[in-house]
């Protein structure tokens, strides 16, 4: 992959040439690659951020789609040069989920794009005995290794002193104590990498029997005892505060209440904090396209630039604030330790529908956007559960549906008190939850059982998250989202522009779209939309929504020839005046409810379909999902419209 040759955009990059792997045998000076490996919550990511500064990037693992992070050693540690890989957390080199498999392949040098010269085993100092077993497993592979013991600050706070000599004697490698809060020890760690041994081995991992595992664990406990020199008795003190918090967060009543409050806070902040930023992005792109259009309103090229290219960039970037805040919020919950509690709390209810607490994060993300949610499903260990989770994620009411619900609710409740549409919106969200639970429940019944499913979750200490690390991580993930989803959304928006512009690109806006390819298609398949109470124009809106759901609103504005597309009042007015060919209004209570139900269920997001193909490695699954959801949405909408109509609504 090209990331190897083109890792960062930092100043020195241009002058340094990274040689491809095949040149290695010629013994040229090559920048060493260092892989960080450690258990979840071992402080690996914090260490990675210290080492690389803010220039890291997520790398897509070829063949599968799991991310690891890769970055260059930051400028200020530049006594030495190295690339640092941050691998997904793992308890052993016997992978039990997709993300653990990524780590295993990197450590065993089976991933040609990420061949580590050194392995830094990151050990949580407060968990030394347990984490030493992984270090021993790495030692057995024969790779050049370094032990980095994190949480030095916590140990110091309890006056726990470590004698690293026994570790150095056994592992025969550098052993360093690092402080993730203040960055102590990082300089020394960065210095170690300059000693590039360049011993290319083909490591193998030995499968331990249960008895051998027990033996190793005993050995690790003994070794840890030597390291701590009896001061380990104070480690449980570190847990006292966490135990107190858990009495609250895992309490049947208060815990559920806290869960509800925290999730509500997360979602309100996603929507409320992101809204002004999204308006800014939208404003910027509207302004940009107007500026460009003014240059020459008649020119097709200018129109393509303004309504094709600029609009499509806008369509991608409009979601960035929301996705960033979602990742930031989840990063906060994760690094504070709460996310593991939320997963524990939700495990039993989720198990009824074939999911587990491990599906909680993807489920949560699904309410913002299905694309990162599908990515988050990777850490589900059971393939059956992963499959179910990925299948139902597009049913969750993502944020792109919000503008559509917004305009339809505004139309339905234009004369009601403002709390009524709010209540109905909540009902829509609960409805989407029920539909996805139903789908999951059905899949759980029909899919064959899979014995390998497990929950087995470690609940970490509650800790104050480091803002800098969280911001950095959220930005990395947002960038990764833009890189993945961006091109798909971009291409589709351009296709949509072509479809709505040609062949009569010189005509007036309304005429242009009516006679366009998409308009013609809409009119041809009008009979399909009729049972939903819509005419061909509503049909075009639905077709256009396949690029991105929120495009529905702007397309309605165009097809109903609303002069000021930005004003909601103008659109509402046009909607209330729109008439079917028989003279009856298009937008009635029946057709609006039908549309809401349709948008609730339909899979109208081709980015999601694209992501589904990549993540599930199967066109079939994505296709089944696409057809099934849209068919069900259609049937549901038609049933609702027809029965409401029969009541005269």
């Amino acid at each position: 992959m090209s990331e190897i040759q083109n890792p960062v955009k930092d100043g020195v990059q241009g002058s340094r040439k990274i040689l491809p792997r095949e040149n290695q045998s010629e013994e040229v000076a090559r920048v060493p690659v260092v892989a960080l490996v450690g258990a979840p919550n071992s402080g690996k990511t914090t260490l990675y951020n210290w080492l690389t500064g803010s220039q890291a990037k997520a790398v897509n693992y070829p063949g599968s789609t799991v991310d690891y992070m890769k970055g260059e050693l930051a400028q200020h540690w530049k006594k030495s040069q190295a690339f640092v890989l941050d691998t997904p957390g793992t308890y052993s080199l016997q992978a039990k989920s997709e993300d653990e498999m990524v780590t295993q392949k990197i450590i065993l040098r089976q991933n040609p794009d990420a061949l580590p010269d050194h392995v830094v085993v990151v050990l949580d100092g407060t968990q030394l005995a347990r984490h030493l077993v992984l270090a021993e497993q790495v030692r057995e592979t024969g790779l050049s290794m370094v032990l980095a013991i994190t949480m030095a600050d916590l140990l110091r706070s309890q006056d726990i002193s470590l004698n690293l000599e026994p570790l150095r004697q056994h592992f025969r490698c550098p052993v360093l104590l690092v402080d993730g809060r203040l960055g102590g020890g990082i300089q020394d760690l960065a210095g170690v990498f300059s000693q590039n041994k360049n011993e290319i081995s083909t490591p193998e991992v030995k499968a331990w029997t249960g008895a051998e595992q027990d033996e190793k664990t005993r050995w690790a406990e003994d070794l840890a005892r030597k390291v701590f020199q009896k001061s380990e008795v104070r480690i449980p003190e570190i847990w006292n505060r966490t135990m107190k918090w858990d009495r609250l967060f895992l309490h049947p009543v208060f815990g559920s209440l806290a869960f509800f409050v925290i999730m509500t806070a997360l979602f309100t902040s996603i929507y409320s904090l992101a809204a002004p930023l999204m308006d800014q992005v939208e404003g910027l792109f509207t302004w940009l396209s107007e500026v460009v259009l003014v240059l020459n309103p008649e020119s097709l090229v200018v129109d393509f630039l303004a309504n094709g290219i600029i609009a499509s960039f806008g369509a991608v970037l409009i979601f960035v604030p929301q996705i960033f805040i979602l990742f930031l919020g989840m990063g906060f919950l994760e690094s504070s330790g709460y996310l593991a509690r939320a997963a524990t709390l939700i495990d039993k209810p989720f198990s009824k529908i074939g999911l587990s607490g491990r599906s909680f994060v993807p489920f949560l993300s699904g309410y913002a956007c299905a694309v990162p949610a599908l990515m988050a499903a990777r850490n589900i260990s059971s393939s059956r559960e992963r499959w179910i989770a990925r299948f139902i994620i597009p049913l969750l009411s993502c944020s792109a549906r919000l503008p559509v619900y917004g305009i339809l609710l505004a139309f339905l409740f234009s004369k009601s008190a403002p709390w009524i549409p709010g209540l109905v919106l909540a009902a829509i969200y609960i409805g989407s939850m029920l539909v996805s639970a139903l789908a999951s429940g059905i899949l759980n019944k029909i899919l064959p059982q899979d014995k390998k499913s497990f929950f087995l979750l470690e609940l970490p200490l509650y800790r104050k998250p480091l803002l800098k690390v969280m911001l950095n991580q959220a930005w990395m993930k947002t960038k990764s989202f833009i890189q993945r989803a961006g091109p798909v959304i971009f291409v589709l928006t351009v296709v949509l522009w072509v479809g709505t512009t040609f062949p009569h690109h010189q005509a007036s806006d309304a005429e242009k779209i009516q006679t366009s390819y998409l308009g013609q298609l809409g009119q041809k398949i009008e009979p399909v939309f009729e049972p939903m109470g819509l005419d061909w124009r509503g049909g075009i809106g639905l077709l256009a929504a396949f690029a991105a759901r929120e495009v529905f609103v702007s397309t309605l504005a165009v097809v109903y020839n609303v002069a000021d597309a930005d004003s909601e009042a103008g659109l509402l007015n046009a909607m209330s005046q729109a008439k079917l060919s028989d003279g009856t209004p298009v937008f009635t209570v029946a057709s609006s409810v039908g549309l809401i139900l349709f948008f609730m269920v339909a899979l109208q997001c081709l980015s999601t379909v694209g992501m589904m193909i990549r993540e599930s490695n199967s066109y079939q699954v994505a296709l089944i999902q696409l057809v099934a959801f849209n068919l069900f949405a259609y049937v549901l909408a038609v049933a609702a419209v027809q029965s409401l109509k029969s009541f005269g609504l």
Binding site: Y91, R130, T217, A340, T344, L456
Partner: protein, 110 residues
């Protein structure tokens, strides 16, 4: 909740294991451990000792990777709401196990 991780615990454990074997010779051969308690007999704060593992290989391997072994002593601290996972305090961490995962542990209450 008393959290103990005293030096010399291992010796005590081994003694206790030996005692257990003396009381119930070669339990593995009989397929069941008569000293083994079941999930229902757990009380909040119960301190248990793992006597053996049995069940799905992947779950067993992961249980061991999480730091459990024959002879480990852990404390049952609470159950998650709605009949959810069981929480156990290890010397240095907290583990949440589903009932079926807990059933892979043969243990006795100390």
């Amino acid at each position: 909740m008393p959290l103990t991780w005293r030096p010399g615990r291992r010796e005590l454990e081994e003694e206790s294991m030996k005692q257990s074997e003396k009381d119930h010779p070669s339990p593995e051969l009989r397929g069941t451990l008569s000293t083994a308690a079941d999930v229902g007999s757990l009380r909040l704060g119960s301190r248990i000792q793992i006597l053996d593992f049995s069940g799905d290989d992947v779950i067993l391997e992961r249980l061991r990777e999480l730091g459990l072994r024959k002879g480990s002593e852990i404390t049952y601290v609470r159950q998650a709401p709605f009949g959810g996972p069981y929480l156990f305090q290890l010397p240095t961490t907290l583990l949440a196990l589903r009932e079926e995962e807990l059933q892979c542990l043969k243990f006795k209450i100390l």
